[in-house]
């Protein structure tokens, strides 16, 4: 029990701490680095949740690719550390924080209220899953989600074309200016 709780609380603390740093750091590059650490910790949480493949993909895709892109792009920009990281407006800021806080509170209350959401006892992590092997995911993916899989391939192609096209617009990254 303790063996499962301690890593969880350490990871949760790290995730929340770095998420907090992500949204409060005045320097965008620090934000990106903190976010990367958040992602890595989340990947380990996924590992712990019996989903090692997704955890690995999280590492490869999010931490290894997307966040690298973020950091790179931020390095392209001529960025001074923001004096004011947050947008202005006292009332709307209050409203934003209040609504977010309220949302968090209400989600937590909702989670706590609905203990019978799933018919599993709280300490039965992965009991329902008999050996979540990556092959099972693969079989499921190619048995039920083949169409979505192909469509995603198309989506990625479109995004690639779109990214190049956007970089070609005047003032864009590959424009002849």
């Amino acid at each position: 029990m303790l063996g499962a709780a301690i890593p969880f609380y350490i990871l949760s603390f790290l995730v929340l701490f770095f998420a907090y740093k992500t949204i409060t750091s005045p320097n965008p590059i620090h934000c990106a680095l903190h976010l990367a650490i958040t992602m890595i910790n989340l990947a380990f949480i996924f590992f712990g949740l019996n989903s090692p493949f997704i955890g690995g993909v999280q590492l490869v895709v999010y931490a290894g690719a997307v966040m690298v892109l973020f950091v790179m792009v931020l390095m392209l920009f001529d960025l001074k550390t923001e004096v004011r990281a947050f947008s202005r407006g006292l009332f709307s800021s209050f409203l934003k924080v209040a609504s977010s806080g309220f949302l968090a509170g209400i989600l937590i209350v909702g989670v706590l209220m609905s203990t019978d959401m799933l018919d599993v006892t709280s300490d039965s992590v992965g009991v329902g899953v008999k050996a979540t092997s990556s092959t099972d995911i693969a079989l499921l993916l190619f048995n039920q989600y083949v169409f979505a899989f192909e469509v995603l391939g198309l989506l990625l192609l479109l995004v690639a074309v779109g990214a190049v096209a956007v970089s070609r617009i005047p003032g864009g990254t590959h424009a002849n200016d």
């Binding site: 965008p28 999010y62 997307v66 792009v73 947008s87 609504s99 039965s124 995911i137 499921l140």
Partner: protein, 108 residues
């Protein structure tokens, strides 16, 4: 002590609450930050929170569909980040500006 019990007995609820908190943080980032790219990061944070929910449900109910869904969400999030950043860079190169409020001026 039931309270300690509840804290030490890590279960689905714990993950869901973590997910909720993470989501809220991402939301605050999206709502409050000025920098477009940080806003994109906030969105990534929110997506990750959702992924966490998916994975915990999937793990606790023994249903692999959640993991597939997370796989797809990651794909789409990456695509979204790619396009979003491409646009941000294009706009930055032209106007030297990445404040979200500036983007209001870009009405066609």
């Amino acid at each position: 002590m039931p309270m300690t019990e509840a804290f030490l007995n890590v279960g689905l609820n714990h993950y869901l609450i973590l997910s909720a908190l993470l989501f809220t943080m991402g939301m605050i980032g999206v709502l409050m930050r000025k920098n477009v790219i940080v806003i994109l990061m906030g969105i990534e944070l929110m997506l990750n929170a959702v992924n966490l929910s998916f994975i915990s449900f999937s793990s606790y109910s023994g249903n692999l569909n959640g993991q597939i869904m997370v796989f797809f969400v990651m794909t789409i999030a990456a695509a979204e980040a790619a396009v979003g950043l491409a646009l941000a860079v294009a706009i930055y190169k032209r106007y030297k500006e990445i404040n979200i409020r500036f983007f209001e001026q870009l009405r066609g």
